[in-house]
């Protein structure tokens, strides 16, 4: 029987242009490994530029693909799509990756890091994400998910001698694997029900009638990704991991890997489960409400900046989830998708900027406590102003990017016009105000408090960090003042195969 199927098999024709980003990344990864093996330590610095050029190199085909007017490229009989959505997300991943590289460059130079391996893992994880953006099949989704996760586990535990780093890695690893195991179980059930791993087929088979088994399968899969996006109550790993992991890695996790999680979530929900919105709408409603509320409340209590940012990013995840809670309502799906993409772009820019500043400040104060930001404005006004900008953006205060992300989220939420959507909107509104409680805490430290240790030597910003700050701050500002640009991406990000009602 299998042999019969085997004979029917013919090798697929491969669109190399479409795969170019992945291929370039892969090539870069291999090159890195080899060089790392053969280069003398004195020359290891070459690896950093190599890594960054790989990422930028991979970005080029993304552009060319975006510009090529040959619409959607479908590979492997539709299990791997290169459409606008995936391109936008790939661009996001690659840029985020590039910024993370910028953040790390100096960090590596100082800490006892194994550059080669580090870059290798980072790029691998990126590769996983880039693939995730295009995967339209449970198997490829699963594989790319693991491909982006497993390196992340190791990066989280990168500081070998540091107990916290170990702990971070261990927790992330165990829970991550556990979650993906649950998800796999769900997938297996789903495969059993539908007899296919291809999302589009699953959608057609599932239709809109639900049995408890189907609901179970759908739910387990959603849980798996909910873990990735650290939605409450599947968030528990995030704070500990973020706090323990090296700051650049945290930045990477909190932006790129969270984004990847959302990409997968959106893909699965929109492509595979459009009919079963009776299952996932309430789930997302509860998840998003819980996530932003709990995230905010816990963030209010934090004294460690990175941990606070961890909770903040959890809360932000809640906002991103909001529109999904109504995505099943007629005519909302489109704006929901748009708002998710928009929010992710804005959030990525802002959050990376925040981490860049955290690193800058931490290098001077050698402390991760919020109190160490005391009087920052008095001796580093520039940094303080940028931080203020990022905080305002996270809090959603015009004219910095964040407000627009929230705005779109609210907009698509309210467009549903159901009671539940209004309730969620109001919860979101209140939360966005509460959030200022902790963002404001940092502002207060920087502007209104005295310098704790009285050391007011100006802060030095390394070139690469400066570039990172430049990119992030400018994009944050532009996104806030001329959101037209970003929402443009969000708008063209048509998700092929997505069953948009």
């Amino acid at each position: 029987m299998l042999s019969a199927l085997a004979t029917a098999w013919t090798s697929p024709s491969i669109d190399y242009h479409a795969l170019a980003p992945e291929i370039i990344l892969g090539g870069g990864i291999v090159l890195l490994l080899l060089l790392d093996l053969f280069l003398p330590d004195a020359k290891k610095w070459v690896l950093t530029p190599l890594a960054s050029f790989t990422v930028l190199g991979a970005f080029i085909p993304v552009l060319t693909l975006a510009l090529s007017n040959q619409g959607v490229r479908s590979l492997f009989d539709g299990r791997y799509m290169v459409d606008d959505f995936s391109l936008v997300m790939k661009g996001l991943f690659l840029l985020a990756g590039y910024v993370v590289i910028l953040l790390t460059a100096d960090h590596l130079r100082e800490g006892d890091y194994y550059q080669g391996e580090y870059w290798f893992l980072l790029l691998t994880s990126l590769l996983g994400m880039v693939m995730m953006a295009s995967s339209r099949d449970m198997v490829s989704i699963f594989v790319s998910l693991e491909l982006l996760s497993i390196p992340a586990y190791m990066m989280a535990a990168w500081r070998k001698r540091d107990l916290r780093s170990n702990e971070a890695g261990m927790k992330y690893y165990l829970l991550g694997v556990f979650a993906s195991a649950l998800m796999l179980y769900g997938m297996s059930l789903l495969y059993g029900i539908t007899g296919s791993t291809k999302l589009v087929e699953i959608a057609t088979y599932l239709g809109s009638d639900l049995t408890s088994l189907r609901a179970l399968a759908v739910f387990f899969i959603v849980v798996g990704f909910a873990f990735k996006v650290s939605a409450v109550p599947f968030h528990t790993w995030a704070p500990d991991t973020y706090q323990g992991a090296p700051t650049p890695v945290t930045a990477f996790l909190s932006v790129a890997s969270k984004a990847a999680g959302f990409v997968a979530l959106v893909t699965v929900v929109f492509v595979a489960f459009p009919g079963s919105h009776d299952v996932w709408q309430p789930v997302f409603w509860i998840l998003s409400a819980l996530t932003m509320t709990v995230g905010n409340f816990l963030a209010l209590k934090q004294t460690n900046i990175v941990r606070m940012l961890a909770y903040s990013s959890i809360a932000q995840g809640g906002f991103i989830l909001m529109p999904l809670a109504v995505a099943g309502v007629d005519g909302v799906a489109n704006s929901a998708l748009r708002s998710v993409v928009t929010y992710l772009l804005v959030y990525a820019a802002t959050n990376l900027g925040v981490f860049a500043i955290v690193m800058v400040v931490a290098r001077k104060t050698r402390s991760g406590e919020i109190s160490s930001y005391g009087g920052l404005f008095s001796y580093a006004p520039g940094i303080a102003t940028l931080m203020t900008m990022f905080m305002a953006s996270l809090a959603g205060i015009p004219p910095f990017g964040g407000w627009f992300g929230k705005f779109t989220a609210f907009q698509s939420l309210v467009s549903a016009g159901t009671t539940w959507s209004y309730v969620l909107a109001i919860i979101g509104g209140i939360n966005s105000a509460v959030a200022f409680g902790y963002y404001g805490k940092i502002l207060r430290e920087m502007w209104m408090k005295p310098v704790p240790d009285g050391d007011t030597t100006p802060v030095t910003v390394y070139s690469s960090l400066g570039v990172a700050l430049g990119i992030t701050s400018i994009s944050t500002l532009v996104l806030g003042t001329f959101p037209g640009i970003v929402i443009h991406f969000g708008d063209i990000a048509g998700l092929t195969g997505a069953f948009i009602k």
């Binding site: 699963f142 535990a157 170990n166 890695g169 997938m187 297996s188 941990r307």
Partner: protein, 99 residues
Amino acid sequence: MLLNEFLMLGAVLFCIGVYGVIVRKNAVLVLMSIELILNSVNINLLAFSLRNNSVDGHTFALYVIAVAAAEVGVGLAMVLLMYRNRRSVGLDELSEMKG
């Protein structure tokens, strides 16, 4: 064919695995429990694949096995790292960061 029995087996394995993950304090044991879950997944996949008479299940299972191997590799590495730093593999000790 014995689809239901296979599924039962899968379910049982799954539960055992989950139970292990939740109660075991020893990192290695937790790893093994997770392996159990993955294997329950594999059993499901294969069973369904036979029932659906398509190779997808098999392929999927193969991927799962491969990935599981990679995961275990990383996992054990971390456990070693942890053992080297703490001279123990008790998960309870991993609670420096909380709240």
